[in-house]
């Protein structure tokens, strides 16, 4: 096994293109665990730890927050610029594993692996985030909804890597909620719900809900969300949207829960997340 620690992106991408069995090493929280279990045996490891400017959160044009691929969960979980609707991502990051693993794991590594039970996918889909994919020739931006394509599958082409995640501004006064049902603290989600909500004069002006852990990719129904816009907050049937999300879900039976249990719990999780969002709006007003 070869080990490389390039100091710039172009060198990392060149190494990545040179060996189809090469793997990029970010925080190691998943890749090294998989290597220890002999689930992957890369012939080349390319550490991203030596590349400057790949970690950290910066504000770019239009108030968009750019989260570098090597940004640790700890940092994302504590950056208060992720406030209002964008707090969905901060809250999701704070629910990943435990403080020690949050010191290691990175947003780029996590989403490139695309575990459907992980915390970022639903949060990023809820936020209409974009993933910056760097390739040997150019960079492109992939909407989060198109990035997660299947079980552990993403829209990344061979030779591409996650360079950053872009989080657009959310509506002033909006709130974010991230609810995660798990067996024990720090476990992967049985089901997770990422939700943001905005209102004016007690009426919903915006509602975005993504559900994680319930299929190969996060679930979202923007047209159904649209139908709920304009409803009074106290007469908005979030559980109906939850039932529709459960209807389109494709959960697995696994050690954490049965598929049937997951389908049953989705509407209740959605309703619970909505109630918390309304309460949070009330606390702000």
């Amino acid at each position: 096994m070869e080990f490389h620690r390039p100091t710039d992106m172009s060198e990392a991408l060149r190494l990545l293109a040179s060996d189809p069995e090469a793997r990029l090493l970010a925080g190691g929280a998943s890749l090294v665990a998989m290597m220890n279990a002999r689930l992957v045996e890369p012939t080349t490891l390319i550490s991203l730890a030596g590349i400057e400017n790949l970690a950290g959160i910066t504000e770019i044009d239009g108030g968009v927050l750019r989260i570098g691929a090597m940004t640790r969960h700890r940092e994302t979980a504590s950056d208060m610029r992720l406030s209002g609707g964008r707090s969905v991502l901060r809250r999701a990051a704070g629910r990943i594993a435990n403080p020690v693993v949050r010191n290691m794991g990175t947003i780029g590594g996590s989403i490139a692996l695309a575990d459907p039970a992980a915390d970022y996918p639903a949060a990023l889909v809820c936020l209409d985030a974009e993933i910056v994919a760097a390739g040997p020739i150019s960079e492109r931006r992939i909407p989060a909804r198109e990035f997660f394509t299947g079980w552990y599958e993403t829209a990344l082409e061979p030779g591409e890597m996650v360079a950053a995640v872009l989080i657009p501004k959310t509506t002033a006064g909006s709130v974010g909620v991230y609810r995660k049902l798990a067996r024990v603290a720090g476990d992967f989600a049985i089901v997770s719900v990422a939700l943001r909500l905005a209102a004016q004069n007690g009426h919903c002006t915006e509602l975005q809900i993504a559900v994680g852990g319930s299929g190969p990719a996060p679930l979202r129904l923007p047209q159904f969300e649209e139908k709920l816009v304009g409803r009074p907050l106290d007469d908005l049937d979030a559980a109906a949207l939850g039932r529709a999300l459960a209807w389109i879900s494709d959960p697995v039976d696994d050690v954490r829960a049965s598929a049937d249990y997951r389908r049953r719990v989705i509407p209740r999780m959605v309703e619970d997340a909505y109630r918390r969002a309304v309460a949070r709006l009330g606390a702000k007003a």
Binding site: M1, E2, R5, V32, L45, P99, N103
Partner: protein
Amino acid sequence: MREGIEIALRVNNAGRSVTVPADETLLETLRERLALTGAKRGCNQGVCGACTVSVDGRPMRACLSLTANCAGAEIVTIEGVARDGMLGRIQMALEQTGAVQCGFCTSGMVIAAEALLRANPQPSAAEVQAGISGNLCRCSGYRTIVDAVLLAAAGGRG
């Protein structure tokens, strides 16, 4: 035989140099090459926390860290927590509350709890629980461990 990678790092305040294969974890290096067996190999998956060591001032999983990626790192293991024969504050508190049963989780608990108190010198019991939530005690003796961290935070005068 594959070639090794020469890595210089600092372990418990001493410069060390090792030559390792690319896939050798820091845990293997500490235990097999440097004879520092305080960090334990439990799950080797990053879940149990028994291998937790401090890397550049932050607690990390030694089993998920590749030594080849640790060039120049400053590592503190449980063997480096006591100074001049004096146990650290967490170690003393664990002894006082009788929190050590089989002891397998203890070294990782100490490293995680030391980091918790550095970041939050006066944690609540709930904050202590969250802080050590990534360290599993198979004896399930959490209560006395939480008591010990609170005792250490109170300066040993709980």
